[in-house]
């Protein structure tokens, strides 16, 4: 936009062709007087600014030299989240980001942010604080990392805008550790703003769209909700490991570069592998089963899984973190279903009890109902689900697979009747399951397989696997699978293998559904989908 000087009233009149009116002349004189006064005021201030008057705050502020680990001094640095009334009258050091700063007369209010915690700081010109220091602090760009030493002071009124609402920091030293660019591609406040409720017209409507967020993920991840989401995601992983370790599972690591497609060959990424090609693993299933055949009894693995699906939906990624487990059982595959169900319950309970603050931080930006679950989890059989759907008016055959809308509806029906967001659906029709699924011995139409659902979306698909090479070959032939291509899979069971079952979940999907988020990209730190390979 071009910026031009505005013409004065007298000039305007002259340009119009006529002699300046009395009123215009009077106005011009007034403006000239005002300009002269302003100049005089600036001139009077100039000497003060430039004067070599002593800076009483010298040595208390400035930019720190680049940290190359030149010093090894030990000092106590407090966490912002720990500061409260108990620290009142203490002088503390904190390292935080400058979230906002606002100068007002001889003082400057700053908000210092550390993770999800914020505290208000004040720099006021006075006995120990110079104007120069105030000016320096005012000019620090937002998002810079600063070291601040200050006196903790209680406040008469709670500071609503900060997480540490009952104290503030009277800043005595203010050092810049790492300077941020003055222009930010997105504002943290904008990226943290919740979607306004319907009818709330007063709420600010400035939002940051998904692509801008993902393009500038470094900044986007600094929002309180994102800080919480990835801590919760880490919690899911930790709780999964803890629950299985307690049940004597062994963590294994399976190869991600494989010679043959693990799930039929479709949707697989091909990579160049020296003089030949290889594939990225779609699932660790074969390796889990080989570990069972190698007498590991109970195994689990946490690792990346790749799917070359051109699905641009809210719940598909081309790379995600798979949490997979496989377990040999004694007599019935329900031993495995119960183990997986109990693992989920432990994860959900752990999140509820240990991550309440994080969940509430996410809910502030993305409101959702608390995740409801039952212990032990609800287990329904496929015909029961079909019956419930039919009662709701869905036309579905006994052996039809559930479509995504039917799954969603079933989730809502289950929630209405049982008040649970998690349930297990057992005994899927054999025709809709892969060839390696064990048929149900009492009803040949069904199989010993199960899906697990969170908020009406499938998160785990598992089954008792056929561990007998003869039956496996028969079933593969029945499904029209080329036996040559799966020879290595069938051979894995040639030397004896215990009956076993298992399943796998996607970490991002579980986190998304637990928090009631609407897009899996919100729970993948650097998501990969058909349209995104960066950052």
């Amino acid at each position: 936009m071009m910026v031009t000087e505005e013409p004065t009233t007298a000039q305007e009149a002259q340009e119009a062709g006529g002699a300046p009116s009395k009123k215009a002349l009077k106005k011009a004189a007034k403006e000239a007087d005002k300009a002269a006064k302003k100049e005089a005021s600036q001139a009077s201030r100039q000497p003060q600014d430039n004067a070599n008057e002593p800076d009483i705050s010298e040595g208390s502020y400035g930019e720190r030299p680049l940290n190359q680990s030149q010093d090894k001094t030990v000092r106590k640095v407090e966490k912002v989240s720990d500061l409260g009334v108990s620290n009142a009258t203490q002088t503390v050091w904190i390292r935080a980001r400058l979230h906002t700063s606002r100068a007002k007369g001889k003082q400057c209010f700053v908000v210092l942010r550390q993770g999800r915690s914020t505290i208000q700081g004040i720099i006021a010109v006075g006995e120990n604080t110079s104007k120069q220091m105030l000016k320096f602090v005012t000019n620090i760009p937002k998002e810079s990392i600063v070291d601040v030493r200050g006196l903790v002071q209680t406040v008469p009124k709670p500071i609503e805008s900060c997480t540490q609402s009952d104290v503030e920091l009277i800043c005595q030293e203010f050092w810049v550790v790492s300077l941020a660019e003055p222009r930010l591609p997105l504002q943290i406040d904008d990226a943290s703003r919740p979607t306004p409720e319907d009818g709330d017209e007063d709420a600010l409507s400035i939002r940051v769209n998904q692509d801008t967020r993902l393009d500038n993920r470094i900044l986007d991840l600094r929002t309180p909700a994102n800080q919480a989401i990835y801590r919760i995601e880490a919690g899911v992983c930790k709780l999964f490991r803890e629950a299985l370790e307690k049940k004597n599972f062994v963590e294994i690591h399976t190869p991600k570069i494989i010679s043959a497609a693990s799930e039929g060959g479709a949707n697989v990424f091909t990579v160049s592998y020296f003089k030949t090609s290889a594939f990225l693993a779609q699932s660790p299933q074969l390796y889990k089963q080989m570990a069972i055949a190698s007498d590991f009894d109970r195994v689990y693995t946490v690792g990346s899984v790749f799917r070359a699906e051109d699905s641009n939906t809210h719940r598909h990624l081309t790379e995600f973190v798979g949490l997979d487990l496989e377990m040999a059982f004694d007599t019935h595959y329900h031993e495995v279903v119960d183990t997986i169900g109990a693992t989920f319950t432990e994860i959900f309970r752990g999140l509820r009890d240990l991550y309440a603050d994080e969940i509430s931080a996410v809910n502030k930006q993305y409101p959702a109902s608390p995740f409801a679950f039952l212990d032990p989890p609800l287990r329904l059989e496929f015909p029961q689900a079909v019956e419930m759907l039919r009662e709701a008016g869905v036309e579905i055959g006994d052996e039809d697979d559930l479509s995504t809308p039917s799954e969603k509806l079933l989730g809502r029906l289950v929630k209405a009747k049982y008040d649970t967001d998690f349930f297990i659906l057992d005994k899927y029709p054999l025709v809709v399951r892969p060839f390696y699924t064990m048929p149900d011995p009492s009803n040949s139409k069904y199989s010993n397989s199960y899906d697990m659902f969170m908020r009406g979306e499938e998160i785990l698909s598992g089954a008792q696997r056929i561990h007998d090479p003869k039956l496996l070959s028969e079933r593969a032939k029945h499904h029209g699978v080329d036996l040559e291509k799966i020879k290595s899979y069938i051979d894995a069971f040639k030397y004896g293998c215990p009956p076993h079952a298992g399943g796998g979940i996607g970490l991002e999907r579980v986190t998304m559904l637990y928090l009631g988020l609407d897009n899996i990209r919100k729970t993948s730190m650097f998501p990969r989908d058909p349209k995104r390979l960066t950052p």
Binding site: F348, R349, R352, D353, P370, F371, A372, F373, L374, D375, P376, L378, Q384, M388, E391, A392, L413, V414, A416, K417, Y418, D419, T420
Partner: protein, 314 residues
């Protein structure tokens, strides 16, 4: 009285208007005249999708009719057995109201949908209850049908651990209809038989009314619908006051005592009504809050006799 000649000559056939304003029918059905509208209507450009829905509805209605006929048939077939059972029950001092008695239908209904009344237990019902006030009456009803399977779940709203004994008490593995008991942070007891619709029962008394209808034999005194009007007043007194026990415990004790006094010597295992079961459950809850010593001896004896009926409660 007087025979007058018409003032003006009116023709014998005249097209009189059939309505004040003529408008085009909204449903797409064209009626040329009033007389034609009486004969089967002609459909103009019926949407095939609409037609398919209509056909499906007719099919559903036909299937519902078949189902109703089947159910009626089953009721008729089992009628003989019920009659034999009622003969023995009629000997009991508590009067049973006849099914044909109009007072049965005129009773104040509970929240349970009329669809479920007089039906059998659905394949799966959900009872949500607070572990602080377990619906012990369910245990008595469960003894009426050994095929009723009960499964206990703890809902995520329950932060405190639910007593393992309580979970075990409400768990029974069989292969019949399922009652899922969900221990939840909830004010009272709630029953949900279906996922769709607003059918359900709130409060242990109403849940017991529902269970008595579907689990007790139709002519049994345990069946709420089979109670005579006199007994119903007493039973309802206990049931209603049991729901208000937190605010008016004395009212409940008085109602229970009045009920037991009225029955006098007739109290016995074969003569229990749902007031006994709900009253017992409520009294157990009350004595957990207050001392049992303040209770009259007759009440304590009555409680002990009921406790002995379900060994797991001892």
């Amino acid at each position: 009285m007087y025979h007058l000649r018409p003032l003006a000559g009116v023709p014998e056939k005249i097209d009189l208007p059939t309505c004040m304003y003529r408008i085009k029918p909204l449903n797409g059905i064209q009626t040329a005249s009033l007389s034609e509208s009486i004969v089967p209507v002609k459909r103009v450009k019926m949407d095939p999708q609409l037609q398919a829905i209509e056909d499906r509805q007719l099919e559903v209605i036909a299937r519902l009719r078949q189902l109703r006929d089947k159910v009626n048939d089953m009721i008729t077939k089992s009628g003989g057995v019920k009659a034999a059972q009622s003969k023995t029950l009629n000997k009991t001092p508590v009067k049973c109201a006849s099914k044909s008695n109009s007072s049965v239908s005129s009773r104040p209904s509970t929240c349970v949908s009329s669809v479920l009344v007089d039906a059998t237990l659905p394949s799966e019902v959900v009872i949500e209850a607070n572990p602080c006030r377990p619906p012990l009456s369910l245990l008595f009803f469960r003894t009426l049908n050994p095929q009723v399977r009960t499964i206990s779940h703890v809902h995520s709203s329950c932060n405190a651990n639910v007593d393992e004994k309580l979970i075990a008490l409400f768990t029974r593995e069989t292969s019949g209809s399922t009652v899922r008991v969900i221990w939840k942070d909830i004010k009272g007891t709630r029953l949900t038989p279906l996922a769709l619709g607003n059918f359900g029962a709130e409060g242990e008394a109403n849940v017991a009314r529902f269970l008595s209808r579907v689990l007790a034999k139709p002519d049994s005194v345990l069946n709420y619908d089979a109670l005579s009007p006199e007994d119903l007043v007493l039973v309802d007194g206990v049931l209603e006051s049991s729901e208000l026990v937190d605010t008016a415990p004395e009212h409940f004790i008085n109602a229970l005592q009045a009920y037991l006094q009225q029955r006098g010597s007739s109290s016995g295992v074969a003569n229990r009504t749902i007031a006994d079961y709900v009253g017992y459950s409520t009294l157990r809850y009350l004595t957990k809050l207050k001392s049992k010593q303040s209770l009259q001896k007759s009440l304590v004896d009555w409680m002990n006799s009921l406790t002995n009926e379900v060994p797991a409660l001892c």
